[in-house]
Symmetry: C2
Subunit: 170 residues, 2 copies
């Protein structure tokens, strides 16, 4: 798991310090709860009617209102607001919760396209905040591509073990 | 993934609102960076010489100093301090990063035993903060047991799909 961050930077083209520039300010205080609700609503309104059936179908079995709530609660929490997501659902566990979905490079780019359009359609997000959010989204999307891709690869120390490891429990 | 939080509460005996009482205050501001470094150092000093070989061996291939740093950086971030962990390693991705390890009920209890002893040995953590931290640790330990257990179960929508889902990408 050590190189997820590096892979995310390489694939997204966003350096780590740019991805986490969101932590230099408090975007929740700056933008407010309603802005994040609007952003997630606008985003999923696009996703659920995507012309690309392969992408739309990824979400087809998920409830749209729940998807919106999950996203804005996570964003509020991650951007310096109250931990709405964790209080309701526990740790974000981003990679594990995305495991059921085909998080490919192609899917990441389509997700980011819709998010860019959603950001551009929310008038009360200033230019600098949009750049910060998009860098975070871009880096995180590829962090997830890397993380979900790794799921079927050898992560277990037993794979190269000498027999003294308690692999039987795994 | 919807019932991880419920499973964590049931197995740990810690209700969600108690587990996340850590968010009602800022334990990082209250306790300071050095306290978290001391806590994680004390914890891993115990773990790496555990009498129980089956537990000690879980960590045998991990560098102790790195384990300490990973833990205190995560705790600092989660307890209201600067996002040291994410800046260095990306999203905590707690479940995914624990997947290589046998996170059983038994291992969770042994982890918690060492953490309780570590907390009891750090003199500059007040009683209330210890309770809050231990509730968080207890709930999170079983959240991980539930999450890692679920890894081999069917999470994929294709499992009950009708053939229209793009499972080929997964």
């Amino acid at each position: 798991m050590q190189n997820l961050q590096e892979k995310a930077s390489e694939w997204s083209g966003v350096e780590t310090n740019h991805a986490f520039a969101i932590d230099d300010t408090n975007l929740f205080q700056k933008l407010g709860l309603q802005t994040f609700i609007n952003l997630s609503t606008n985003f999923y309104n696009r996703v659920y009617v995507d012309d690309e059936e392969w992408f739309r179908s990824i979400f087809a079995k998920s409830d749209k209102d729940k998807a919106i709530q999950n996203q804005y609660e996570f964003l509020v929490q991650r951007m310096g607001g109250p931990p709405l997501y964790s209080q309701r659902r526990g740790h974000p566990a981003l990679i594990a919760r995305h495991r059921p979905f085909p998080v490919t490079h192609e899917a990441a780019e389509r997700w980011l396209l819709h998010m860019q359009q959603a950001l551009d359609n929310i008038s009360d997000i200033d230019h600098d905040s949009k750049i910060m959010l998009m860098n975070f989204f871009r880096h995180t999307a590829y962090f997830l591509v890397a993380g979900v891709e790794q799921k079927n690869q050898s992560l277990h120390p037993c794979k190269d073990a000498d027999g003294r490891h308690p692999c039987k429990n795994f």
